[in-house]
Subunit: 256 residues, 2 copies
Amino acid sequence: MTDVLKNIRIVLVGTLYSGNVGSVCRAMANMGIRDLVLAGPKLCDNWDDAVRMAVHAADILEARRVTATLEEAVSDCAFVAGTTARGGLYRQHVKTPREWAPELLKLAENGKVALVFGREDKGLSNDEIGLCTHLIRIPVQPAYTSLNLSQAVLICCYELYGALGTYEPPVEKSLPAIAAHKLKLTALWRDMLLLIGFMKEDKAGHMMQGVQRIFSRGVYSEDDVAIMMGVARQAQWAAKNGPGAKPKGAGCLPRK
Amino acid sequence: MTDVLKNIRIVLVGTLYSGNVGSVCRAMANMGIRDLVLAGPKLCDNWDDAVRMAVHAADILEARRVTATLEEAVSDCAFVAGTTARGGLYRQHVKTPREWAPELLKLAENGKVALVFGREDKGLSNDEIGLCTHLIRIPVQPAYTSLNLSQAVLICCYELYGALGTYEPPVEKSLPAIAAHKLKLTALWRDMLLLIGFMKEDKAGHMMQGVQRIFSRGVYSEDDVAIMMGVARQAQWAAKNGPGAKPKGAGCLPRK
């Protein structure tokens, strides 16, 4: 159910750069999250940058709401997850976005959940952190912890989207090759390699170990087996009939 | 060992926008990856954008190398992982960055691994895909699959950095509260709530169930217990002595 993502709100606090707002919209669209609120924005540049960076996520940009403060932005949210890079007394309970994601999705089934991102230059104030019920720290290389605003939003949204488990990986269209077909392939290659003079009978056992090793690493699917069978057959044919000739049906990819 | 990240190379093919190159540098720095090659860049805007977006990752930007083709950019790489959003015959074996990450790190122990990202507008060509030994697809919402270039780089680098397992989560400085302390806390609150007239003796059992439920959800650590003990003691003191007075030692956070 991606519907739960409708209850996820991205709140940007005191944002300075319009381009970042646009990039945030695009990142949200990529991960199926659409509710954007700007809390006390301090935009100091050209709004065209926002439109340009949003690309095809202009609808999210257009539908944004603006409030004066973070309090107003999250007033209807039962759960407020703030992002922070700093430590401190009340920042002990931070977890990574991946750790929080399943819990935040569960909370979003019953109410609005806000993900809050601070200013580009100084993040969230202590008062703003105080409004948060959850704290998030994105794992980054300690030597360079300052993430771009839209990059931080992307990672949080990516982890929420990933935790949904609705993403369907591309389907492998060819089944894994069964052992019998692989044996048939190896036998055919053995004949072919002898015929074309790649190896002599007394060395065939040793050479075929090398070929089988290559096949076991690279020839996974029934399609792969069919292609390598075709290669062997064609090499045998060409060795007997001369180069360049095309026997019917050889050299084609297998049909489904 | 983060040293293995030294063997990870980011290759951008035919990049159009300088700002994206800068953003890529920053994302790389965040995740501890530093080797950048531009293969056949077609930059059509102001290079100042690259410098601006790189922020403190200017050293990665400066150290970039430029080649005419992808072939040259990956000539010393044993493993070439291309990113693609499209399907197709030879794109069956794609996996997500998270699925590939452990294997790519393992490969990087013994040789250079390139992560290859195509043009902003049309990705990698079929010939370029043909140079790849691995294919990566980033899981995104099917309705809007077009990621910004630097966002795609970030997610791949983030998954590699995460798979290293070197990130150390912030340490919880206060130990989880033990049951004896929680019982003492509950008893103190019971006395206090009776004293201040919040409840009467005959309802105390019922009310304290509610209070305990709140404590069990919110009062995790010894620090938490100490704070709530202080609240109860101070409330009792104020009920006896009037508001505003400050008995010695109350209202303070516990010392370590």
